[in-house]
Subunit: 343 residues, 2 copies
DNA sequence: TCGCCTTCCCAAAGCGCTTTGGATGGTTAA
DNA sequence: TTAACCATCCAAAGCGCTTTGGGAAGGCGA
């Protein structure tokens, strides 16, 4: 079907060895010969067979992403698409393939073992780390280079990760709301078995404590971050005897739900009620413009994908470059959804 | 690192040949031997090296998904994550790997060529087909098995596809609105270079014609399907001298935007204004419950992913199974966003 | 002239698997 | 008894590439 190295070599009257070296930039080949080879390769649309190449080199030239599909709720993380887009960019630029495995989340361990044993990938990115996530230990033990998108509290062995400063983000956001006089601030969080959610709650609690406000369990909720989840949370909380005057949401999708919930009750964001949300800059839910709809802690998950991919590739190339870590700060951008507490 | 066939064979005092045949279910191996081999393989956590295997067999055991990243708007299709989740399920079950390439959309052709020449995949799924999409011709020419998610009008060569009945969906939706007395129905569509968008518009126009309503260009809009797009469209249209009494949206994300746009103007869906949207059943934007928020033409894109993957695998296994096609009908589910025209 | 580098190229082995084409020994039919 | 036949196993080639370990030819200094 497609042309092979041997054929190309034969057509040039050269040995496969020389052609290989010419194309791979080895020094011991005449400049003129190299040019000739390169031209012929381009003309024949020659691309080395990936499988043969990686069998010979021992490198898979591929990075794996295992995306767990929660067996209970079956939710696909909406953030995933943009992260992948960012990472994919980097892989493509570096000649790496991206391979995806969608697995039930109780089957993830065997997915990693399998990937390792088959030698299908040179490294993996671990998504959606939970508190004390056992996958980190497993991967370390397998000896497969990996990078965590996020972190996992309670795991002591060092590992590489890229995370945003969730705690600081929500600390700042809470602080910001407090400075407007808010003291009853609701936290509509993701599932708190997820590490990011726990950290956000910590930041929130920390800021409340600093401001001298007592946290109220009635105002704290965790759940799968869908739009209706935000809607229900907002509606239910607003009917409490002592309703919140502000909301803090863990995802822009949830924020839209809150917005709708309040709007249905005739309440207007920024005037009657304040809202700060985390904003991953999902491409189909842009929160920009002169005055964004939502005041938000903003951080591009696509950029996170890019950086995570770069870090992992570095880790694959130089396994001794030790655990690599990066903490991205978010920016707190002022939108139309916040204002002083209404008295 | 991981155990090889040769090692396993040596440890069993057998030849690699026999071990290979035992594990691959060939008949010419003693039942007892086979059992012994299987147990040893399991104990050693033996998994055949993918690259070696596929080099030997000539099959990549992988399916490629090329996802074009629009160079101009940089939007990642939100529908993509759920489609992938569905397809991934099927690949995993059949021992196929899923490989993803994120490429700028002006570079897609070379991505396919490359995938083909390197032999990295046994087939590909083509996403986001446009009108008269040239990729179909390219893939046919390359001889790479492929399946289109959607269709492409104006391409005459036969090809395999899985699509939903966009035209009929929007025909029915429009008809339904007409039956409520609506005649000024706005269409907030996706980019009409996309095949699905064109079909939806056709269905819409067809139904309008049948109902004797004149289509109004002021009420038809196309664009990238984001939330703000829906918001702006709704707000602008509602201020027209002759505003629409109903909206037809191509995506639930757009529908949320419309909802917010109307809501900001004090208009309530289902009472003041009607809205029907297409609903792909995105997992994080569920439109369900006793009475769904939106009346919708509903079709699970995750299920589409599953079916598309199955069809493609079939195509790969039996290339002569000819062009496979499937047209999924959508269901029109009644939600809270529609009602008789307000007089 | 010889010896010694360079420069440029090649033969062959090997990556881990599958598969072709036997080989071996025991059974069965004639 | 012999030939034909299974049932069961194996040696070796080959998939398309990289890489090791030369080797031939030419240039240079002594």
């Amino acid at each position: 079907m497609s042309v092979t190295l041997k054929q190309l070599a034969a057509s040039l009257g050269l040995s496969p060895t020389t052609v290989s070296r010419a194309l791979n930039g080895f020094p011991e080949v005449n400049a003129a010969t190299r040019r000739r080879v390169e031209q012929a390769a381009a003309a024949a649309n020659y691309h080395p067979n990936t499988r043969a190449k990686s069998l010979a080199t021992g490198r898979a030239q591929a990075i794996g992403h295992v995306i767990p599909l929660s067996t209970s709720h079956e939710i696909v993380n909406p953030v995933f698409a943009d992260f992948i887009a960012g990472a994919g960019e980097v892989y493509a630029r570096n000649g790496y393939e991206m391979i995806l495995r969608v697995v039930p989340d109780d089957d993830e361990a065997s997915a990693y073992r399998d990937l390792m044993a088959r030698g299908s990938v040179d490294g993996v990115i671990l998504h959606g780390p939970r508190i004390e996530d056992a996958r980190v230990g497993l991967l370390a033990e397998l000896g497969l280079p990996f990078l965590v998108h996020g972190r996992t509290s309670g795991v002591n062995t060092p590992y590489s990760w890229l995370d945003i400063n969730n705690q600081r983000s929500f600390h700042r956001a809470t602080e910001f709301l407090c400075s407007f006089g808010h003291s009853r601030i609701a936290l509509i969080n993701g599932l708190e078995e997820m590490d990011f959610a726990r950290r956000r709650r910590n930041g929130y609690l920390e800021a409340l404590a600093k401001a001298g406000s007592e946290p109220d369990p009635m105002l704290m909720r965790q759940g799968e971050m869908t739009e209706p989840y935000g809607y229900r949370a907002a509606q239910e909380m607003i009917q409490l005897p002592e309703p919140p005057t502000a909301f803090l949401a863990s995802s822009i999708i949830v924020a839209y739900g809150i917005l709708r919930g309040l709007s249905d009750l005739g309440l207007k964001l920024g005037r009657d009620i304040s809202l700060v949300t985390h904003d991953d800059e999902l491409s189909y839910l842009p929160n920009d413009g002169d005055v964004p709809l939502f005041t938000a802690t903003r951080s591009s998950v696509r950029e996170a994908g890019r950086r995570a991919a770069s870090m992992l590739l570095r880790l694959v190339a130089e396994p001794d470059s030790g655990p690599l870590t990066e903490l991205m700060e978010t920016s707190l951008v002022l939108g139309a959804s916040t204002g002083p507490v209404r008295t």
